[in-house]
Symmetry: C2
Subunit: 156 residues, 2 copies
């Protein structure tokens, strides 16, 4: 077994186990230089947190463990293709690499909206059921003015 | 002032204040039937959590307050256009509506990658710096098989 195969097999096993514990069928792991930093399982319904996807949970745990908001150099292994939420989380976490096993079509078979949400992202927001609208606000630039004027700001 | 204007002005004010407290220049609020359910501010660098965007923080807090993983019927107000992470979180949280003030170009002026990540989402993953790859795993379907075989599963 290659390291990739080993980590993905472990993630898949963890995802199966998570179903038995009342979670969703998803698991993820953060690995740096061959070492496991964190694991995460889907806890959306158990924790009443729609953002508690496996990858998000694993990223948050790895950042806590490393005391860093960047996971540069890390690989995110996921039992299933990350949804847009999780892929964006991986981008913001600056991981080097995402590797996954099952895909959005497998997730759709399980009744999950990952594929639908990718389809939405490829379409104009005006076509969505969820309304997304920009509203004029006279002082909308003020937070960024305050940010740029703050010499102690920590960029990410 | 319309209710929309009032909530966005409050979110913008909160975002400005958050900069003074060492956070990023973003804030969000969850409102249902004219009532504030939760607020959230960007805490990425303060909390070492790359997913602690204002909208994600507000969504998590609102779900905790309501004891529910769905925010159907709610509006998410954001001082700035939600990035792909936050827009996907809004979709998963099933909010009815997202209304925002500043946009991705304002965020880019502040040095944030929201616009860049939207551009990435519109391009083939093969062109990204972050590697995203599907790997064959013989048992990749097992988590979904276990899920569908679980009569107690809670769908979302």
């Amino acid at each position: 077994m290659s390291p990739d195969e080993k980590w993905l097999a472990a993630a898949i096993e963890l995802a199966v186990r998570n179903v038995g514990e009342g979670g969703g069928p998803f698991s993820a792991m953060i690995v740096t230089e061959g070492t496991l930093v964190s694991t995460g399982c889907n806890r959306v319904t158990r924790d009443n947190d729609p953002t508690a996807h496996a990858e998000v949970v694993a990223i948050r745990a790895a950042c806590r463990a490393r005391g860093d908001f960047s996971l540069a150099g890390a690989t995110l292994y996921a039992s299933c293709e990350p949804c847009p939420l999780c892929l964006a989380a991986a981008l913001w976490a600056r991981v080097d690499r995402v590797a996954y096993a099952a895909d959005r079509h497998d997730a759709a078979r399980g009744g999950f909206d990952d594929r639908e949400f990718y389809d939405l992202f490829a379409r104009d927001w005006a076509t969505w059921t969820m309304t997304v609208e920009a509203l004029a606000a006279p002082n909308s630039a003020e937070p960024f003015d305050a940010w740029l004027a703050n010499p102690d700001r920590v960029e990410y």
